[in-house]
Symmetry: D2
């Protein structure tokens, strides 16, 4: 039985010792430990994996951890047992490259998730859902229908007990309501190296500015557009010889790679969010 624990709390002395001691007494063997202190914010972060060969009692573990450690160190913590796959919904519009990439990785066994459904405001990509045998819900969004559309989205998400959402080039702005239901659980891919070129048409803006590097950024969605905690970024070089169309083509490869890396980090519980930034334990 493998347990993954994520902790953050105000920095102080003795935390690593106290936690490893607690696990030792519970007969858990620490097989991975990574830790980080944000010196500016004086916050301590830790990610631990421990093996419990002799069994593990969920309730008593949680209670005792809270009483022995979490309370005194003012920890925010979470833990996860191996075994159940998280449920990931995918939202798309009309671009297919990220969707194809996620689904072919899933089919190859590279992504440890269940995908209960794909949701879109357009019908364009339904054929891909069919290729991969995954339910596809078409919920059109207009100014007038936006509120109702979102209620329907929420019903679907709840019905399928979705754990997190991937916006795989979903071209709609997600509302507060959805974000509040899924705090740091909606992963977006933006087609620029944020904070440069936030908002619409970043490749056009990059071309206009004459940059020599373009990028893609995957981040958790927050209420401020394209301003959430960054999970992963990557870039590629461009030159005067590339047209906007070339930027878009080169960018597609960045987007799908960066998004899939971010999804994997999230799935493996290697991300922690603090002060609108991420700690990524690799």
């Amino acid at each position: 039985m493998k347990l993954t624990i994520l902790i953050h709390c105000p920095d102080q002395t003795g935390i690593i010792y106290s936690v490893t001691n607690f696990l030792f007494e519970k007969k858990g063997n620490v097989i991975y430990l990574d830790q980080h202190v944000d010196m500016e914010a004086q916050v301590f972060f830790m990610r631990l994996e421990a093996d419990f060969e002799n069994g593990f009692t969920k309730d008593s573990f949680e209670t005792e951890f809270n009483e022995t450690l979490a309370r005194s160190y003012k920890m925010q913590w979470s833990y996860h047992l191996d075994g159940t796959l998280p449920k990931m919904a995918i939202f798309v519009s009309k671009y297919n490259h990220c969707l194809y990439d996620l689904l072919s990785r899933h089919r190859s066994g590279e992504l440890d998730v269940e995908i209960p459904f794909i949701l879109s405001n357009h019908k364009d990509l339904e054929y891909i859902a069919e290729q991969f045998g995954i339910p596809y819900y078409h919920i059109p969004v207009t100014k007038a229908s936006k509120d109702e559309a979102e209620s329907e989205q929420l019903r679907l998400l709840q019905k399928h007990q979705v754990d997190f959402i991937v916006l795989a080039r979903y071209m709609q702005i997600v509302s507060s309501r959805l974000i509040q239901h899924y705090p740091n659980k909606i992963i977006n891919i933006h087609h620029s190296f944020l904070p440069a070129f936030a908002g619409a048409k970043p490749y056009h803006a990059a071309f206009e500015r004459g940059v020599k590097i373009i990028g893609a950024t995957s981040h958790y969605v927050t209420e401020e557009l394209d301003a959430g905690p960054i999970i992963e970024q990557d870039v590629t070089t461009v030159s005067h010889s590339h047209s906007i169309k070339d930027f878009i083509t080169k960018g597609r490869d960045l987007e799908k790679i960066v998004l899939s890396r971010a999804v994997k980090l999230h799935v493996h519980r290697k991300t922690m969010v603090y002060n609108n930034k991420t700690v990524i334990f690799t």
Copy 2:
């Protein structure tokens, strides 16, 4: 005798043929030709190198090129004969890494320029000028003295017939007057991947935003701060484990490499500026 020609003009048919034909008749052998058409702006760019084994008459070449080609095609063009080294002034403040890098490249024969002097608003780096035996002018700049300081800079630049200026982490904003004397001839290094984090303290801003990639940008200086035509950019990855001090240390290596690449491109006349962007012929 090697001649380098740079041309840009409205795009139309027959330009490449006309220019190579002209050179052929002058007994010039084209040894390099690169060309680019900006399809959006409908502008044609070309860079040519030609060998003239049987001699070359400067005046008649210029006159005939103008009459035969430049007028009818509405060309803006320039040409350069191998042989004379361009004169490069270096402006610095207190950071030494870019200065050390430029001077050690120069001493190694890697930079085909003359360096008539180094100029600074501080005395801090005079010791490096002494190490390398290059004159160092200390011209302090205060709000009150800024105008007079700049006049003195201009006198020095003109006296030494400086061709272009490198701002090697010169922390002052350069005035319109200087920029107008050296249009597209002042090369700056900015310590971010522009347009992200223009202005002061970009590493602090990058840290605050939680980016996973930091960069450096070398560009020609225009009147709008950090908004001139980009010559060269590069980036490096960072993580939550890096402090602002780490960003600065990693950034130093980017800055010096990116600046030196931009300087070399300029020296070898591989840059053309158009619509606040560069065409870089490599």
Copy 3:
């Protein structure tokens, strides 16, 4: 009518002028010209695109080009008219990531080719061919059957008039016979930055050696294993914390991106082969 011409010949004066002059007289407008001289080998390379608005007569063009230019300059040259899609066969074994990537690009309209069939020595990936509605031929290969299997491959390739072959992680060594039928027309992806780790199990070898960077290489297949002309390479960083399994996972992303870039370069006739190396016009 757009024409693309690829030329290489011994370097001498006047080639660019002569070719552009020839096209000018045929009323072709040069819209792209890139040229390269290998100074060591004294070989001249050129890639040209020309527009023929007033029509183009294939036979007379070929004859006259040969008589006027090719003979005197000892050119090897080829030309291509826009319009017909090249036919690309894909060979696979059991790994699906490159196949998924190529097919989803094709379906998205990103790859300007026809795919008459997928061929494999295993049945494993037939389901993907079905997902995308492309014929799948299963031709098992054993030591005893290798010769016969290859004859069958050749029959299929010829029947479908295949122009070039992509080995998308096809784990078999291709024989001389096939290579001779498709010289510089079989594109392989090798999962290392060649020439490091040629041959079998490169990720295991890279792990063993403790490298900090792994790569992928796409190259034309020649008779010497993994030693053909390199079209494209890319790398990614690794560390001690990555297992061989991690190398393989990270490598998959490299492989599919590098292979697709190489295929696109080939399809757009941007590659020329000389002295077991490539000239890539971008």
Copy 4:
């Protein structure tokens, strides 16, 4: 008082707990802990930094750590107290870029070392030593004098109590004798992405092979040429348009950056060597 501890031992349960417990009882506060398990080799690695505010007794710490932990876990371990700068000798031949880079970093306070001397088999770079005010020993090496030259090198190294040696493009092969005196303490920079192009003239070999990426590798020197544990690698792209001279110029920038990164990792005791590979704690 800050203490850095490096440990490796056969992997077993309870190590992290035991070490952090030991430090806790000594009133050391763990401020950094990174750990790694090589699953193939079943070896555990750990790097710890601990603050001892209430003082630290060197002798008793060492004895007790050995008796309580090192013996039972079969640890190989070392520890280091902040405060003394390691002594770094630099060996060079005729190329100056790595030397300039190291010395300008040192002068800028970026390298926390003392540099007692520079040693060379040529006089060429003496002027740089003079620029930076560092002793320069010229010890010519010929086939006949190699043995005697090395004895003189060893005398100098021992006289100056040198801790580690940087071969900053020292073009001589270092003998077993020197390597045995400085095991995993001689850092070399090789101008290729090893294991590709080991040995002499790697840029020529890379050009010949037509690679699209060149690299540089910094490694600890072992008796087998260019086969020691790799500390750091980096690469840059090249194309057909680059000559061997261009490879060399681009490579210089890689070499100096990669070497300086490796030196810093060594100085900050972030490297551990095992099975001819490195564990790099960042």
